[in-house]
């Protein structure tokens, strides 16, 4: 079993959350990179394409939903999981409509988050095999 570990990109403007989520993903056997803004994520896409995104909903500049839409407009399909500190039903339905695999409220339990990441990656692989 020399399978490479899935790469997760975490985008959150709050440093403490970003660092903690990166640690959690690493400790859970995932490869993780953290970015403070959507623009930093976009710049990194040329070097490595993540298998899954964990996006904070409320960020200065492009927010989570806008990041998702920006990628989709450019034909970049990466499964994404939205996390938010403010529960907002409209934002939730818009994110799901834009293709988010899960919409989770902070504080998110590790099992839930890692489970959602696993599911998102599995489903996207299944979609790819189907197509």
């Amino acid at each position: 079993m020399t399978e490479t570990r899935p790469l997760i990109a975490i985008v959150d403007d709050e440093e403490s959350v970003r660092v903690a989520l990166r640690r959690l993903c690493s400790a859970s056997g995932l490869e993780a990179r953290a970015f403070a803004s959507a623009h930093q994520l976009f710049e990194s896409l040329d070097q490595a394409r993540p298998d899954c995104l964990v996006l904070d909903v409320h960020m200065p500049g492009l927010n989570g939903l806008e990041t998702q839409l920006w990628l989709r407009e450019r034909g970049i399909h990466i499964p994404s999981i939205m996390i938010t500190g403010r529960h907002d039903e409209t934002m939730r339905s818009r994110s799901i409509a834009a293709g988010a695999c899960a919409y989770l409220c902070k504080p998110v339990d590790a099992n839930v988050l890692i489970g959602a990441i696993d599911t998102a990656i599995r489903e996207s692989h299944a979609n790819i095999s189907l197509s």
């Binding site: 903690a20 959690l24 200065p60 996390i83 409220c105 902070k106 504080p107 590790a110």
Partner: protein, 553 residues
């Protein structure tokens, strides 16, 4: 139960001793050849005791005073006259007490004009009724008493008792009820002032009533008593006024009995009469003045209390508006703590544990916990209810607290904040919570005013500087929609609002808080758009004593 009984015994021993001394004092106040003295304080002591005792125990008061009366006068006059005195005095004081119960309302505090007037009327009406039943009056009526005519006896007995009720009873009553307790509650500065007032009163009183005949002839001499008496009434209320009046009355009796001071007249009967009339006439306006001032102070305190409550209610409303942002602010450290703790727990499950990584995680968890606690303590501080606590504070620390509390609101609104504090700013005197409310209100308003501005233009500048020699000024400048043209001051009117769900009280309260701190709050439009609010607060130790901030207890 044992303690209650001991207290009862102590009270009655005190009553017996006071009554005994009051009778001896009353007898001592008779000048050499007069049968009727200037004042009969014994009835005033009995009245105070009855007013302070529940009706079911009145019999005890009457029993104790009767015994003390016998002890004080027994032997010197026939037994039937002692019995008559006890019966008459008891009937008189019980009647007066019932009258006061019925019309003045208990407790007797003499803090309202109505009570002072009713008390004064009772203090004349009851002694007048009483004198009709006294031995001196009846004996003169029957031509058995050679010293007085019946009319003379009636007038003198009435005035003796009225003087007692007006000038002695209030002192005993108010000191027994409040005096000692209030003394311990007072600030040191008040106690110093009271001491200075009493020293002035005694000094002037000793001079006025202890002078020889040359100076005593000065027509203005009695007016010298007015300033210290007014000082007592204006600054120390009914307790102060009654105590001061009682003290100088005692001085005047003492001086006159030694043939000193302005009341030394041809006959002793005239001296007694003029002393009584002088103090009775002075008593009513002074006690009324004390009551009026007390009523005004109470009204002011009630108004201040309402202002504080209103300020608190608007803080609660603001916290409600900010609750979404605050929850967001709390969820960030909670998220970080949870993810860190679960990451650590997974690291520890590995075969080779990276201790350094776990240590780093624990360190971060501690910091994040403190961050969450600070959000809560800021919120608790903000929601604190109660009397303002005036202390020395820096405006910049108030601004930092407001920024901490408003951080999520500012972040969510996408506003860029530029705080700027001048070096070595002097401190101000104020209530940290209320000033925080003012500053947070200005910050939140500014964020809302910029909600329609392009993201790059949402700039909030906070600038704290010293303004002139006497003030510290905070400028809160935004790049929002600005204030309604030509009516910039209208935003401070209660219920004026431009928000769809605003109460329109925030700025009105902010201005009233600022005014109570002796400062100013105003707004103006910037030349290049947006508005600037100015909060000016007086520097500590720079006050001239008239800021209301220093009057609150």
């Amino acid at each position: 139960m044992g303690q209650a009984r001991r207290l009862l015994v102590a009270q009655n021993v005190l009553l017996a001793v006071s009554y005994y001394l009051a009778v001896r004092l009353g007898l001592g106040f008779r000048f050499q050849h007069s049968q009727i003295g200037v004042v009969w304080p014994a009835n005033a002591v009995m009245l105070s005791a009855l007013l302070l005792t529940p009706k079911s125990r009145w019999w005890l008061v009457l029993l104790v005073t009767a015994a003390a009366h016998v002890a004080a006068v027994g032997g010197s006059i026939p037994a039937w006259r002692v019995a008559w005195q006890i019966g008459g005095n008891s009937l008189f004081t019980v009647g007066t007490t019932l009258l006061l119960h019925r019309f003045a309302g208990l407790p007797i505090h003499l803090e309202s004009r109505r009570q002072v007037l009713i008390y004064t009327i009772a203090a004349f009406a009851m002694p007048a009724l009483f004198s009709l039943t006294t031995a001196a009056f009846i004996l003169s009526l029957l031509d058995l008493e050679p010293t007085y005519s019946a009319g003379d006896a009636f007038l003198r007995i009435t005035l003796t008792n009225a003087t007692g009720l007006l000038l002695v009873a209030p002192v005993v009553l108010l000191w027994a009820r409040y005096g000692a307790r209030r003394l311990t509650e007072q600030r040191a500065s008040r106690l110093w002032e009271a001491t200075a007032m009493m020293a002035t009163l005694l000094g002037v009183g000793a001079f006025v009533f202890g002078t020889g005949p040359e100076i005593a002839q000065l027509p203005s001499l009695l007016f010298w008593m007015l300033p210290p008496l007014l000082w007592a009434a204006v600054r120390f209320g009914p307790v102060g006024a009654s105590t001061a009046l009682f003290t100088v009355m005692m001085l005047s009796i003492w001086g006159t009995a030694r043939q000193m001071g302005p009341f030394v007249l041809s006959t002793e009967a005239d001296q007694v009469l003029s002393l009584q009339i002088f103090w009775i006439v002075l008593c009513l306006p002074l006690m009324l003045l004390a009551a009026v001032i007390h009523e005004r102070e109470q009204a002011e305190e009630a108004l201040q209390e309402q202002r504080n409550q209103l300020a608190h209610v608007t803080r609660v409303a603001t916290a409600g508006e900010l609750s979404g942002a605050l929850a967001h602010e709390l969820r960030q450290p909670l998220m970080a703590i949870l993810a860190n703790a679960q990451a650590a727990s997974r690291l520890l499950a590995h075969e080779s544990v990276n201790i350094a990584a776990v240590r780093e995680i624990l360190h971060d968890i501690v910091q994040q916990d403190q961050q969450a606690a600070s959000v809560i303590s800021h919120l608790q501080l903000f929601l604190k209810e109660g009397e303002p606590q005036y202390e020395t504070i820096g405006v910049e620390s108030v601004v930092r607290d407001a920024l901490a509390l408003g951080r999520s609101t500012i972040d969510i609104a996408g506003v860029e904040v530029q705080p700027q504090f001048s070096a070595a700013l002097p401190r101000v005197r104020g209530d940290a919570v209320q000033l925080l409310q003012v500053v947070l209100n200005l910050i939140v308003n500014a964020c809302e005013a910029m909600s329609d501005a392009p993201a790059s233009d949402r700039q909030l500048r906070l600038h704290v500087t010293q303004a002139g020699r006497h003030n510290v000024e905070l400028k809160v400048a935004d790049s929002g929609v600005g204030l309604p043209n030509g009516k910039t001051d209208r935003v401070f009117d209660p219920f004026f609002t431009t928000k769809p769900d605003g109460l329109g009280l925030g700025l009105a309260i902010a201005r009233s808080i600022t005014t109570a701190h002796g400062g100013r709050l105003w707004g103006e439009n910037n030349p290049r758009g947006g508005a600037t609010f100015h909060l000016e607060l007086p520097i500590e130790n720079n006050h001239d004593g008239n800021t209301t901030a220093h009057r609150h207890r």
